[in-house]
Amino acid sequence: MIELAGVQQRDDDRVVELLLAGVPEAHRLAAWILGDPAGAEDAVQEALLRAWRQRRSIRFELGQPQRWFMRIVVNVCRDELRSRRRRPFIATADNSGSDSEMATAPASAGHDDLDRAIARLTEDEQIVLGLRFGRDMTIPQIALQTGLREGTVKSRLHYALGHVKAALDAERRAEEKSR
């Protein structure tokens, strides 16, 4: 025999177990980053594929296999956000009109301006914002999850909040003028 058939088989079993165990968390992570539960399902499926293809690199990537998978999820989300930026602006709230959770969101909640402000951020800013305020992660946790230095996370968060605030202020001024 010139293959590690037995070892690889067990290794693959373990990878499948790891990936399936991570699906609910990956789903939440992707939904918070993308602001789109339906799109999050596609992102998780894509992440599963990528993870499977890269499964032999688990030992090289990280000591924590779950974190390895979640980092792939974040990367898939980054690609999706980038691809969305290349398309004409589409408010995420409009995208998910058929989604039950979105449908039940009160129209008066006033999220539209926030949707637009977040959509204007860079992918990396949207990711830290989703992890901070969606997943409720601390800055060290975000750093661990994304592989960034804590200082970088802090500055991204700082700029993201600043950009969101500026965009909201601009909208408010425009609205006041139109009255």
């Binding site: 293959e3 079993d13 939440r28």
Partner: protein
């Protein structure tokens, strides 16, 4: 920048996107992973076929160049004074080259029916010299076959890979089914040692039945392998591989020493021994390295102490103790 109002708005904003149920996604993920895991079967056989083919090609080159055996360089006085085995297999000197049409005809005769639409690729390295690779269509009666260009023999075949988890056959019955298949196709397993293993790929199961040339505890590069459907005994893929080899020197490194050397070379933190065997290696990847034809201890190790399974496969030269990492998983 800290703006409690904005942060509170953001928290409220993101709360809307929390998926309340991942059950549907989980089921879809299970199905997807099952589908992905089915694919390696065919790929594995292709890899084996390619590897065996290239090994055989290298062997033939050695035979032509050296005149007698592969590894004739091993037959130096010091190494060959004591021999662990007298077994040798020589390569066929035949250089006859059959046409692509002949190859398809050979496959048709082997299958006992028309193979349907096929694509025949130019010959590539294979056991005994070269072989045509014949590809079927996805919905056809076979997936891939290789036909030796010199002998016209079908040396490997993949039929449709079944997706079953039903096991109705015992290992003995699976071995008998494979033996009957080889007998019906005049593929000799005489003098070879069988092993049977039920493989579980999650999505599907199969019996891997393999006959190897093992003499005095040494495994030689001569093997006949089949995959058997455990629900009905159908052989759905096989490979016949026979590489020439010559006399082999007696080992000076014992099993325990080999494990020690392999463990050190592996770099694993807490290595566990998966398998140890002595064999004569011959693989294209080692061409030019001086390792082909050597008698080695093949030591497979794993390590799950880090929260994942790492593996290392180490060759230890059974005469000199030199080590080589053959693979990591």
């Amino acid at each position: 920048m800290s703006d409690p109002d904005l942060e509170s708005r953001l928290q409220s904003h993101y709360r809307r996107f929390r998926p309340d149920d991942s059950t549907r996604l989980l089921l879809a993920a299970e199905t997807r992973l099952d589908e992905i895991r089915r694919q390696p079967d065919a790929a594995r056989w292709r890899r084996r076929a390619l590897a065996f083919g290239l090994v055989a090609a290298a062997v033939v080159v050695a035979v032509v160049a050296g005149g007698i055996f592969l590894g004739s360089s091993r037959a130096t006085p010091a190494a060959s004074t004591t021999s662990t085995t007298s077994a040798t297999v020589t390569a066929s000197p035949s250089a006859r080259v059959i046409s692509k049409a002949d190859a398809v005809a050979a496959l048709k005769a082997f299958l006992g029916r028309d193979p349907g639409q096929v694509t025949v690729n130019d010959p590539t390295a294979a056991a005994g010299g070269q072989a045509y690779q014949i590809m079927g269509t996805p919905d056809g009666v076979f997936g891939e076959a290789r036909v030796d260009v010199s002998t016209g023999r079908v040396i490997s075949l993949i039929l449709t890979v079944p997706a079953t988890t039903t096991v109705k056959l015992t290992p003995v019955q699976a071995q008998a089914a494979a033996a009957a298949f080889f007998k019906a196709h005049n593929i000799s397993i005489d003098g070879l040692t069988p092993t049977v293993k039920l493989e579980d790929h999650g999505c599907c199961k199969n019996y891997a039945v393999e006959w190897d040339r093992i003499e005095n505890g040494v495994t030689f590069p001569e093997s006949v392998q089949a995959d058997v459907d455990p629900s009905n005994g159908t052989v759905y893929s096989f490979i016949e591989y026979r590489a020439p080899y010559g006399p082999v020197a007696s080992p000076t490194i014992d099993r325990q020493k080999a494990i020690e050397l392999a463990t050190t070379a592996s770099g694993l933190t807490k290595p566990k021994i998966e398998a140890v065997q002595m064999q004569v290696i011959s693989a294209p990847a080692y061409a030019g390295t001086g390792w082909n034809g050597r008698l080695v201890w093949s030591v497979q190790l794993s390590d799950d102490s880090q929260g994942y399974v790492a593996a290392a496969w180490v060759y230890v030269d059974a005469v000199t103790g030199e080590t080589m990492i053959a693979g990591r998983g």
